[in-house]
Assembly symmetry: C2
Amino acid sequence: MLSLLDLRARIAAGTLTPAGAIDLCREAIANRDPAIGAFVAIDQNPVIPQDGPLAGIAVGIKDIIDTATLPTQMGAAIYEGWQPRADAAIVSRLKERGAVALAKTTTTAFASSDPTTTRNPHDPGHTPGGSSAGSAAAVGAGMLPLALGTQTAGSVIRPASFCGCAAIKPSFRLIPTVGVKTWSWALDTVGLFAASVPDLAYALAAITGRDGIEGEETSSPRIAVVRQDFAGAPEAAADAALATARAAAEKAGAQVFDLSLPQELVTAWERHGALQDFEARQALGFEVTHHRDALPPEVRRNLEAGDAVAPATYDDARRHAHRARRVLKDLFGGFDAILTFSAPGPAPATLVSTGNPRFNRLWTLMGVPCVNVPVPGDGLPVGVQVVGRFGGDGQALAVARLIEGALRG
Amino acid sequence: MLSLLDLRARIAAGTLTPAGAIDLCREAIANRDPAIGAFVAIDQNPVIPQDGPLAGIAVGIKDIIDTATLPTQMGAAIYEGWQPRADAAIVSRLKERGAVALAKTTTTAFASSDPTTTRNPHDPGHTPGGSSAGSAAAVGAGMLPLALGTQTAGSVIRPASFCGCAAIKPSFRLIPTVGVKTWSWALDTVGLFAASVPDLAYALAAITGRDGIEGEETSSPRIAVVRQDFAGAPEAAADAALATARAAAEKAGAQVFDLSLPQELVTAWERHGALQDFEARQALGFEVTHHRDALPPEVRRNLEAGDAVAPATYDDARRHAHRARRVLKDLFGGFDAILTFSAPGPAPATLVSTGNPRFNRLWTLMGVPCVNVPVPGDGLPVGVQVVGRFGGDGQALAVARLIEGALRG
């Protein structure tokens, strides 16, 4: 993979120019993308800032995120050729910090579950996951050092796990969603993909202007291992990855113990879907009215499910989520991070499904930061998920870095 | 003013067609708008549904709200002629319910404070208020039975008070903001203007599919009168309006008492500006980067203020707001509604200011429903504000209806 911090170090040392760093990405894309298909548009003549903490960093932008100089097609035929007027807030911010929005990456239609044509960089017969398929594949394949995704259920952490890269779904609204196509306003969260946890921490600190995110240190964190039994059993490979990560954390000095989540969190998890579907039906009202028959099947199914959610059911879901957030906040008094599954297993051997977000839904609903840490092993990539307290993105990244370092040995 | 319920009754009785109801609005616009200037675009050939709870209702859409068949120009030269791809979620929903999005109404640039050219329908030398200037003026002048505004500080309740119409800023996110230009994602709230409180209740119930909003009844509500001394003193006319409304409520059977808000709410009120400015600076990142010199002065001033807000100051503001919401929720155990000022006084005699939102900021930050009730009197309109608990939009409207009825009584 292309390390953001490595590129930045070479630029700082004067051995690489920002334009040279962008060229490295172009070459990698030329070599690898024909077999993967991670991109829907590439800017052939971008402005390349010389300064800023992200100068020389080419970023992949999920194609539900508005860009003023490249089309934004939502992974949906009905938005073919659509050119927004303005960059999304996160794209503007990246450019202010020196980055180059080099390419738009594939997304499932409206970031739902109809697969893209993107292939897993580790095996072309396997899904890269979704909905942020292209961004995960682009970083996992070493074509870009940084990419943007969004997560409403499991659309950042799951594809990162499948594609073998690091990723963070930050605390809710730490990165603004202004200019990002809405599916669920209470859930949609912009996230980052990169080669390693320190790369993520550097990028998130630079984007948000919060230096503390990168600087946070941890030595012997208290880590609660949560298996999320309510979400079903994992596959053997995911189970093994969790055990490996747990052992690595203990070896690195962490205090690790098992935790079974209280019922309030299970109840909230069960209501994620109703909340999401109810909001999606309203958010995509125009598409339902004018383009119902042109919508792909999973989108249509989701929107029809939303039609069936009564306002009272939605309100009930919101109340349970609110209560669960307070319970989780209190729980975090007893530990520094949760360690759990990123996905049920490695990327499924199919291109007609993007995999299952069942181990991700709860944390998106809670609005808490989640980091995928790849676990080295044989076979296709599998990651583990480090979950932090709301607003504790720096601490979640510090714990993830500790585990990543211990795993890499 | 044009009463939505009256139009609907005539349509139900078969004495008016939906197209005829739209024509009534066109005639009123032709007669009155030349002296007011509430519109930036009018659909000359709209689809007019025959069915639905809002069939025959022409709606004014504030021009920061996306429409697929009319330009959306944000009150800003840099968006001249801009044509969005899709309708905003609220516009789609209105159309699904049978309404006609007849016209785009003037807005201050990006819903900030640079005045529009719209004049107050009650005196052309006075401001209609802002930022939802055209929507308030259009309803206040009897040109439309319903219009959409947005409020981030006081942009719905204040112009309604100045223009003499009823209005509701509902609970946060009861109406989705998808497709509405963002200024502050934690504050921006879509609201409604109409001729009376029952008109608002009918429209909000129809839009949200929550029949209970219209059906709610109240007989002897407990009403806390809050003067918001922390926000400064009102003018004599606003003070008199509050006294009149209080007496009317008591006469109608309400139990009314004075309440001084606890310090947590004052502290939150003081932090509204920092929260708003920090988010606006990010939300308008594209405009700052590419069009800084073309931005009007108040927008530029707000965005520069946002540049000066540190992330820690923003986080502190959010924490105080969160705490204050819980304090307010507990307070609402002791009463059914708060009665307070809608604005410092009648519309100022100027076209270079939109007036002051100091009596509105706290309630927007709290996310609670607010209803403007016009108070009949000599001179320019003055309203009072009924504030309900979060999610209690029906109850707030019921209390407002009781007061409105007693005032008209």
